[in-house]
Amino acid sequence: MGEEVKLFAVWGSPFSRRVEMALKLKGVEYEYIEVDLQNKSDLLLKYNPVHKKIPVLVHNGKPIAESVVILEYIDETWKGFPLLPKDPYQRAMARFWAKFIEEKCMPALFKCAGTEDREKAVEEACELLKLLENELEDKKFFGGENIGFVDIVADFIGGYWLRDIQEIVGVKILTRENLPKLCEWSDEFVNHVVIKENLPPRDKLIAYFRTRFGPKP
């Protein structure tokens, strides 16, 4: 009996990339389905009627939505290459920082790409990333010696998304001056053997960001 794993995703989305990273790290085969967000398929709406968003993982016909919920599901279903540590306290710390990234860092970073009060937005984002950097301490990854749950949830920060957006928008957030340890971590992240094969094509991403965030003619 075969395992059937499908992923509804968008090539440039850090949210669906999280799920892909987890599946690839665990060596899980899956069918990738690119979604056109301007023209959502009936299938996507059937599998995620509540949010109508990606990513959605469909495992043996049963759908799961919300990237962090999907990550926990993946970790509990495929036991190779555990994403969360074993110890309940360490797991709580990982979940805490994943939540912090999702609920505090991500919205703050998106604000920096907006046009309102940009200076204040950048200041806030830097403060939040400083807290995240402190959590890293002297570890190679948030997961320790190898990539874990928090590293994956932080993909927007560690991957090329933040670096490229900040350059195009013209703000300085993740710099070696401000956040040396986080920069070092992000270098490790993009060079990780599995991650580097699973980031969106950089030129395509930059072109997209230029259109979306670049100075208007």
């Binding site: 509540v50 919300e66 919920v69 599901y73 979940r95 939540k99």
Partner: protein, 223 residues
Amino acid sequence: MAEVKLFRTWSSPFALRIVWALKLKDVPYDTIFEDLANKSSLLLQFNPVHKKVPVLVHNGKSVAESFVILEYIEETWKHNPLLPEDPYDRATARFWAKFGEEKVLLSIWEAFNSEGKEQEECIVKAKENLKYLEEELKGKKFFGGERIGFADIALGWLADYEGVFEEVASMKLIAEDEFPLLSEWKRTFADAPIIKENWPPRDKLVIKFQAIREASLLKKLGN
């Protein structure tokens, strides 16, 4: 000797989730009531990032954020499980807990803090979200099935606080005819053992939330 402390306030619905979880699992603990206008140095030491309640401290190590604490409690004290065994069912519970927090609570809170036409529009949004919960309850006594589970605890504020919001903001959200299953769940949950003994005093809640609403509306006028 295991030592469990819970930092909470008398009124926080988020901290109440932890009270329920600890009591449902029969975990003995000490309570430390905080005055959020005058936070103790202990609270700031144990939750330096958010400086909020609830915080659970177990053998000197602190965990913050109610959903994170619930998962910690679940993994540490394994009897009377709050999450099912099957990974898909666990994902479903986590999904609805998240939905409750990010959509239901937010939309109801927006309706609570508005009036007139703005409130009417917020109510429409809130009801759209509540419809999904109504749908999810089909054929079930609790969101967790036959027994109270993770999603019930996450959504539990709907069974008491929500009524207070409706009263204070003069709005009707969960009407019996529109939301029969949710209305029934509210009663069943509110009256369940452990849950029913731990609701904060309603009259005090009304006064507190009246003040909060007045302050919000005033602030909006000033803008």
